[in-house]
Amino acid sequence: MFTANNLACVRGDRHLFAGLGFMLEPSGRLHVTGENGSGKTSLLRILCGLSLPETGEICWQGESIARIGDEYHKNVLYLGHHNALKEELTALENLRITAALADIAMEDKQGAELLGRVGLAGREKLQVRFLSQGQKRRVALSRLLWSSAPLWVLDEPFVALDTVAVTWLAGIIGKHLSAGGMAVLTSHQEVAIDGGIAQTLRIAS
């Protein structure tokens, strides 16, 4: 169970939001909506523990994430605006390093298979800077396939993807939810995701 209570966020002089809260059960997904600059990204970063809220508390399984620390990070997968890829490394190297940082040893063969599943077969040994924007995004999204983190925090995951990839990604998120996972996401597009219990949180400024 993932809960947030009375969250407030201040950036410089601007009070982005206050008194924000929600509760997410297994298989639940939360759509965060709001205008540009309303603080969606700030909220997502607060939820995964990158930044601290001005007030309020976030609890994972009833325990404050400020107290759990690194242990909480095992349960979260965060996908931000950046792809978090090194341009000079190959797709495969990037994948293996990302896995290693999550404390998972990944063989070259497994990595290649994973990249094949996101449509990058034969491009494993290519440096990321030679890939197109959409291909880079898909390398970043391949993390969703092997991660065992129950909570996915996805910031605009459908950006820079073609319609086929959007449907594919929606399917992946649906599967994750059916398996008892949770997801918090922001999206400009209306994307149908099957499975899970949907909630919407609107940040009004």
């Binding site: 297994p26 990158l50 990070h73 965060y78 890829l85 490394l89 290693a100 940082l101």
Partner: protein, 239 residues
């Protein structure tokens, strides 16, 4: 609930442990340095050029060059280390990989130590290796030369450690490069004093052991505090 079955899991999956994570970070940064050779070579050339400029400004008198050699080499090493600090965290910060490191279940301090070690291997160790050649330009005798190498060997990791604090604090800040030198150079002074002092003490027959052990003491102190301060700096930068 402790983990959800992955959508697709490559099997088998073993955990790496702390040392494995540390090795991954080091290997990653070394690989990156290898792919961006020019950046690494720039600071090495900078070191060589700065050291070679001094005789041109001061005059080729060997006795004078011998006396200023330790100071010149150390100051040049300081500036060269400075030059490479900017990119210690900057590119990771820009492409989002730093965020993922903070969110990794491995302790951030460990990852920071890995990055600092890689930074030393890439930009500190080459300085130590090229220093004997430059020392010969200044007509240093074999013994002082050996002490110089030893002092640089202990001192350059210290520069990387202290510099990492400054690099984390100035991350994404306007005018970060100049600010970084303003913050870091004063903190480098003890390293400079003991490092160059060791060589001078050896030349004057006082023995370099005292200086070198103080330098090693500073290294131990920095090894303890710097990763902590850097970690705190990174968290603040990402907030």
């Amino acid at each position: 609930m402790n983990g959800v079955a992955p959508v697709y899991a490559p099997s088998p999956r073993g955990a790496l442990g702390a040392l494995g994570v540390l090795a991954t970070v080091i290997r990653r940064d070394l690989l990156l340095a290898l792919r961006r050779k020019s950046e690494v070579l720039t600071s090495l050339f900078f070191f060589v050029i700065v050291v070679s400029l001094f005789p041109l400004g001061i005059g080729p008198e060997m006795a004078l060059l011998r006396t200023i050699a330790p100071g010149v080499l150390w100051v040049a090493a300081l500036l060269a280390a400075m030059l490479s600090l900017n990119r210690l965290f900057a590119s990771d910060y820009a492409d989002g990989t730093l965020e993922q490191m903070v969110l990794s279940p491995a302790p951030l301090g460990l990852l920071v130590i890995g990055k600092i070690m890689a930074h030393w291997l890439v930009s500190g160790l080459p300085l130590v290796l090229i220093a004997p050649v430059l020392g010969l330009q200044y007509d240093l005798a074999p013994r002082p030369l050996a002490v110089l190498i030893l002092s640089l060997l202990i001192g350059t990791p210290l520069l990387s450690l202290i510099g990492a604090i400054g690099a984390s604090l100035t991350l994404g800040v306007r005018g970060g490069g100049v600010l970084l030198s303003l913050l870091t150079l004063p903190l480098y002074i003890p390293a400079l004093i003991f490092g160059a002092g060791a060589v001078e003490a050896d030349i004057s027959g006082l023995g370099a052991a005292g200086h070198l052990s103080l330098l090693a003491g500073l290294l131990a102190l920095a090894g303890f505090f710097a990763p902590w301060a850097t970690t705190a700096g990174l968290r603040i930068a990402l907030e």
